[in-house]
């Protein structure tokens, strides 16, 4: 289990007839990393994963796994293993048989097969269910069998396609913990496709955001969440309010943009040019509400009226509308909210600290 699990995609494309599912993407995933692919439906996540797995022919480009060019190799020769979204457990086999299937295909003797399958089942705490058929298991149990089956061939890379989407929220959180623990124990590379932002943030060392068959941004979860590179990513990852305005001043000390009657001061941004449009974001939890314009916030405030107050347990979600009809979302912890409750129709000044504004590239 050395560095054989590094994955490198070089200008990889996938065409289905005339539609392009994946457009010449480049991606390096270090060995032992937990990488999440995320993006809206149809953006090419599954296609990318399946090309790595070898279940989809790569139309153009090269795929390296652990320095070897595996572009043309069959799945089993790539050192990858895949866990399918619906687990794809063979319904006519018991759990033990499912897990042992890979060994059986390798021609391992029944005795050894049984032994190793039992070991693997024990690892996922499913040894008691060895003789059950998959349809007699709950979703979470099935998932563990699917994991065991994928791991028995000792892959360098585990590929997971929306492994948690079929589970209820509790089980999802638990399985998330288990996945992370397993990955840390095994030290192999995980590539995980998901459409849930929290999952991607919670699990990964590296998040890859895709759109329309192209990688839009890749980086650590914090980077992606706090410093989205585009409006799309900000929207998609959530937790951000996006503002747009025209640059009125851009120099080494400040960037100032104008939006209707308001002026906002932004952190210094090299690329900004006077007269251009610029977008910036402010995290929903970093906006405050006040009756009066707080001192020093003259250029990072905007008057609003509260339109929705939504209780979410630990959070309260507040939607406030500006005079020109733009909705701003604010998240307050329940404690904060209790300290300073607001109600529908009330008017406030929404404000933030200049350094919390993030300019979209």
């Amino acid at each position: 289990m050395t560095g054989n699990g590094a994955i490198e995609l070089i200008a990889v494309s996938k065409y289905y007839g005339s539609t392009i599912a994946v457009k010449s993407i480049d991606l390096k995933i270090p060995a032992g990393a937990y990488c999440c692919l995320i993006g809206p439906s149809g953006c090419g996540k599954t296609t990318t994963l399946r090309m790595i797995a070898g279940h989809e022919v790569i139309s153009e480009g090269d795929l390296l796994i652990g320095q070897r060019n595996v572009t043309e190799l069959p799945p089993v020769k790539r050192g990858t293993a895949m866990m399918f979204q619906n687990y794809a457990l063979f319904p006519h086999m018991t759990c033990a048989e499912n897990v042992a299937f890979g060994l059986r295909m390798q021609g391992v003797s029944p005795a050894e097969r049984a032994e190793r399958a039992t070991e693997m089942l024990a690892r996922v705490h499913m040894e008691k269910f060895a003789d059950r058929k998959p349809d007699q298991l709950s979703g979470g149990q099935q998932q563990r069998i699917a994991l065991a089956r994928a791991l028995i061939t000792q892959p360098e890379v585990l590929l997971l396609d929306e492994p948690l989407s079929a589970l209820d929220p509790f089980l999802r959180a638990r399985m998330r913990d288990e996945l992370r623990r397993l990955q840390q124990d095994l030290g192999i590379t995980f590539v995980h496709v998901t459409h849930a932002q929290d999952e991607a943030l919670a699990l990964s060392d590296m998040v890859v955001v895709m759109e329309d068959g192209v990688i839009r941004q890749q980086g650590s979860p914090e980077e992606i969440f706090n410093r989205p590179r585009s409006r799309f990513i900000a929207n998609f990852m959530g937790g951000q309010n996006i503002f747009k305005g025209r640059v009125t001043r851009a120099d080494a000390t400040a960037t100032i943009i104008e939006r209707g009657p308001d002026q906002f001061v932004l952190p210094v941004h090299g690329d900004a040019k006077t007269g251009e449009d610029l977008e910036f974001t402010i995290r929903t939890d970093l906006i405050g509400l006040a009756q009066e314009i707080p001192a020093g916030a003259e250029q990072c405030q905007i008057p609003v009226e509260i339109t929705t107050v939504e209780y979410l347990g630990l959070w309260v979600r507040i939607v406030a509308t500006t005079i020109d009809g733009k909705d701003i979302t604010l998240m307050k912890t329940e404690s904060e909210f209790r300290r300073a409750p607001v109600r529908r129709k009330e008017k406030f000044i929404a404000y933030w600290e200049p350094e919390h504004a993030h300019v979209l590239a």
Partner: protein, 272 residues
């Protein structure tokens, strides 16, 4: 209270009555066969009854004055089994093929549909003519087999379509991921999973072949299959032995289906 509220709508009773009538309609004429198969030794094919006996059931297993009952039965059985095996194998293969698009797939599909709708007698005529023109000898195991296959394949293929439309390809990918070859994937994963449907195809194709008349008419060659023999008997035999045959096959199918159903129920109960 719980009981009175769970009322069935009036329509149910009308429909149930209709259904009962339908069943009566299905079985009514069989009933006449059933009764007439107990004709006395001198009785004929029609009413009135001429005594009551098991004569014709006994007679069924004896040599008939005309025709070869046992031989044609065995032939039909053999032909049915061959058709069954070939249909299962070929439909399964075709089903697999149709999961991917390939050039000519629509052609084969429409051929199958055509095969289903071309009146049987035309197939019979065409194959008969073909063999005639090329001076080939029609045989139950060549021309008739072919004629039957054109009848069973469309059904087999359509059933396979229905099956594979619902078959998740990730099962095969999982197998391949675990190192199974194409053949191993089919053998260990696909085949066991679609086996119940294949049994359906098998039963269906056997029944179709076993009972096929029009397509066999000009393609059977010198030896009759059972339906041809029965048809021949309707023109050549004056005795209720035919009815005895009908009664016996019906009773037989009741028993088979009853047993099969019982077995399923039993299995399910044991599982639960």
């Amino acid at each position: 209270m719980a009981v009175t509220r769970e009322k069935r709508p009036t329509a149910f009773y009308f429909l149930a009555a209709f259904f009962a009538l339908f069943v009566l309609f299905l079985y009514g004429p069989m009933l006449t066969i059933f009764i007439l198969s107990f004709q006395g030794p001198n009785g004929g094919l029609t009413f009135p009854m001429n005594g009551f006996s098991f004569h014709w059931f006994v007679n069924l297993f004896e040599q008939q004055a005309v025709g070869d009952f046992g031989g044609s039965f065995l032939r039909s059985l053999k032909l049915g089994l061959i058709v069954m095996v070939v249909t299962v194998v070929v439909s399964f293969m075709a089903g697999l093929a149709f999961r991917r698009r390939f050039r000519g797939d629509t052609v084969v599909f429409y051929l199958a549909i055509a095969s289903l709708i071309v009146p049987s007698i035309l197939i019979s005529l065409g194959i008969g003519l073909l063999f005639n023109i090329f001076q080939l000898q029609p045989q139950w195991y060549s021309s008739a087999l072919g004629a039957h296959l054109t009848w069973t394949f469309p059904f087999g293929l359509l059933i396979m379509f229905a099956v594979f439309n619902r078959f998740d390809p990730s099962f095969e990918e999982a197998a391949r991921d675990l190192g199974a070859s194409n053949w191993q994937t089919v053998r260990h994963v696909v085949l066991p999973m679609v086996a119940p449907s294949l049994i359906g195809v098998a039963m269906f194709s056997f029944t179709l072949s076993y009972d096929e008349f029009a397509r066999t008419l000009m393609t059977a060659g010198s030896l009759n299959t059972l339906p041809l023999e029965i048809y021949g008997m309707t023109t050549n035999v004056t005795t209720p032995v035919l009815y005895a045959l009908g009664t016996l096959t019906t009773v037989f199918s009741f028993v088979v289906i009853g047993l099969a159903f019982g077995a399923v129920v039993l299995l399910r109960r044991r599982k639960a």
